[in-house]
């Protein structure tokens, strides 16, 4: 799984950090998303999908690897 974030769409809600703190963080100054792990381990995939679904700004995508599809 590859994670992509759009910092221009991000509204700093922090929902992604609540869902997957190992993968996402927020910039100290304005709370905008920072990616901690671009290709997180499979064990975190459900948390990342939860972050994608909950993001109120539609600012997170994942590209699933072929073997997962």
């Amino acid at each position: 799984m590859k994670v992509i974030v759009d910092q221009n769409k991000c509204v700093a809600s922090g929902q992604c950090v609540l869902s997957a703190p190992e993968v996402f963080d927020q910039r100290a100054e304005d709370g905008i998303v920072v990616l901690r792990a671009e290709t997180p381990p499979e064990g975190l995939a459900d948390d990342v999908r939860q972050a994608v679904a909950l993001c109120p700004a539609q600012a997170i995508w994942v590209e699933e690897q072929e073997d997962e599809q």
Binding site: G14, V17, Q26, A53, P56
Partner: protein, 401 residues
């Protein structure tokens, strides 16, 4: 169960459809939307779309391939006009009747208006078409009066002011956003607007719109004074879109009355702005017009439709962006709550506040403090005792970071 119908194709309806598929529903799925546009996101309408920072297409929620992957019978531009609960059918405006085994109601809300709202130059802002029309009107450089200083009204005012326009916000309450946040935050929002050159006319109700030749010319206040305007934006709140459900037998009070699992009747669920339900976390019935709730409640309702028995008991999250300020909130903010500044200082435009009610922390608010408010959220989730803050008057930044 063979067919699930979802009425409403905005954030909640779309999320319900996606959740059903993700959870393995492989049967027929029909998504009915009144607007002909594919599902789009509403928070940018009063912000980036209005200022022109984004083109309208950027508010689109899903690409056409993503929508196709839903394998849903997508009925856009079609309005549901009646629901037959015992017969398990939804009737559409064109006369067609669609049967269902389970139903999700996600029809949202419709903006309130004033008499004479049909005058040219009078706008509401709910749909993307509304935003495009208002954007076009604002580009002509009008004098703008915004009626209503809730989140929508104050965001529209900020966007219009950012375009360099002459803007006044009219609000019967003494300060903006008083109902959600109380007087103290309201006074700070008022100061924020004044600092940016937006005028506020608070404490006096609007009596009526004035017009000439079919076009709005101004706003008349309860004290007899008038304010000239080329454009009037009505931001008076919204009513749940339940007219189509009248006579269905569903409980309609403030929206569609649901149980704790978002169920309105056997096999019939509601989600998003239109749904009211008892939130067990706070022990109170609520109906939320928040973007985040549309997603969370649709996920919960879809899960319960498929057999979960999970009460929907979230800590609500909402936010507003005005000028360069972002206000974010978790929880509820009852009018009789106590409030304390628990981080930072309002004079620095960076702080967080906590709200206490019946001895518990029920809400936290961040003013340009996204990380702090996210951390403080835990106190609302844990129903922390309000004495947490009595013993420690103010948390240090190091503590909440």
């Amino acid at each position: 169960m063979k067919r699930i119908v979802i009425v409403g194709a905005s954030a909640a309806g779309l999320t319900a459809a996606e959740t059903l598929r993700r959870r393995g529903w492989d049967g027929r799925l029909t998504l009915i939307g009144e607007e002909s546009r594919p599902p789009y996101d509403r928070p940018p309408l009063s912000k980036q779309i209005l200022t022109g920072a984004w083109g309208p297409e950027r508010a689109t929620l899903r690409s056409l391939p993503d929508l196709a992957r839903l394998r849903a019978d997508l009925r856009l531009g079609q309005r549901a006009v009646a629901l037959d609960v015992p017969g398990r059918r939804v009737r559409l405006g064109g006369g067609e009747s669609i049967g269902f085994d389970a139903l999700v109601i996600a029809t949202g809300v419709a903006p309130r208006r004033l008499p004479d709202s049909d005058l040219a130059g009078v706008h509401v802002l709910r749909s993307l078409d509304d935003a495009i029309a208002l954007r076009a009107a604002l580009r002509a450089g009008p004098r703008v009066v915004v009626v209503g200083a809730g989140f929508l009204g104050t965001e529209v005012a900020a966007a219009a002011r950012a375009m360099g326009l002459d803007v006044t916000v009219a609000e019967p309450e003494p300060v903006p956003v008083r109902r959600p946040f109380g007087d103290r935050i309201g006074a700070l929002v008022a100061a924020l607007h004044r600092d940016h050159g937006t005028r506020l006319r608070c404490g006096v109700p609007v009596r009526r719109l004035r017009g000439a030749g079919g076009r709005v010319t101004g706003v008349e206040f309860g004290d007899g004074t008038t304010l000239p305007a080329d454009i009037v934006v009505l931001a008076l709140g919204a009513r749940p879109a339940t007219v189509w459900l009248e006579g269905s037998g569903l409980r309609l009070g403030d929206g569609v009355g649901c149980d704790a699992n978002c169920q309105a009747a056997p096999g019939i669920y509601a989600a998003g702005d239109v749904a009211s339900w008892p939130n067990a976390h706070f022990g109170t019935r609520m109906r939320l017009e928040h973007r985040m709730n549309a997603t969370e409640q649709a996920m919960a309702a879809a899960g319960n439709l498929l057999g979960d028995v999970t009460p929907f008991a979230p800590v609500p999250y909402f936010w507003t962006d005005q000028y360069d300020t972002r206000i974010q909130a978790y929880g509820i903010f009852p009018p009789d709550a106590e409030m304390r500044i628990v981080h930072g200082d309002p004079s620095d435009s960076h702080f967080a506040a906590a709200y206490g009610h019946h001895g518990r922390v029920v809400g936290v608010l961040g003013w340009n403090a996204p990380r702090q408010v996210r951390t403080l959220r835990r106190l609302v989730v844990d129903r922390a005792p309000w004495t947490t803050f009595a013993a420690i008057p103010a948390l240090s930044p190091a503590t909440v970071n």
